[in-house]
Symmetry: C2
Subunit: 109 residues, 2 copies
């Protein structure tokens, strides 16, 4: 399909949750953090990010509050909840399991 994707589908929620373990951040900051840590390999488009944050809010995995940034702007800061931390654990272990399984299929034999 020559899929043109900026992310591995299915990993965005996990990446956001993980990013928030480093402290509360607003949307723009989350995207920037993922982009930087991934060394520009992963790009989170805003049209993916904000719907994802809505999902996470609805699930109760993050909490949001409006604050003022260091750059003097209004922004919604997202914080990981206890449930979110637990969810992250689940997603991480499932991801590891999948990657390991894919690795077994991909290895020569």
């Amino acid at each position: 399909m020559a899929r043109k994707t900026d992310l591995l589908p299915g990993t965005l929620d996990m990446l956001i949750l993980k990013t928030l373990t480093r402290g509360a951040l607003h949307g723009y900051g989350i995207a920037a953090s993922i982009k930087n840590l991934s060394e520009d390999v992963l790009t989170v488009e805003e049209g993916s990010l904000y719907p994802a944050l809505q999902r996470l809010l609805l699930q109760g995995w993050v909490r949001a509050e409006w604050k003022i940034t260091e750059t003097n702007r209004r922004a919604r800061f997202y914080t990981l909840t206890a449930a979110g931390r637990k969810q992250l654990g689940h997603e991480l272990s499932q991801f590891d399991q999948m990657i390991a399984a894919i690795g077994r299929v991909l290895q020569d034999a």
Copy 2:
């Protein structure tokens, strides 16, 4: 989202192509091979598999011919084409890059 997925989305074509590097196989055999090699972690549903094979055929990455199996059944055997082998290379390197990038985001710091 508590996504219920049997695969990491975006990896199915790659898994199929890789499976065919081990020799021609029919659909059922491809699914069985992936399931076995992954130790039952990855399950390819038929509703995912056959549309995927159609995509691969359309792209010219696999070729198909009807044959008789060792168990005496008619089945479509799929073979990797040269273009398919090339495509597999692309997908593998992109996948590796993505996994490495995700790893950087997921690691503690």
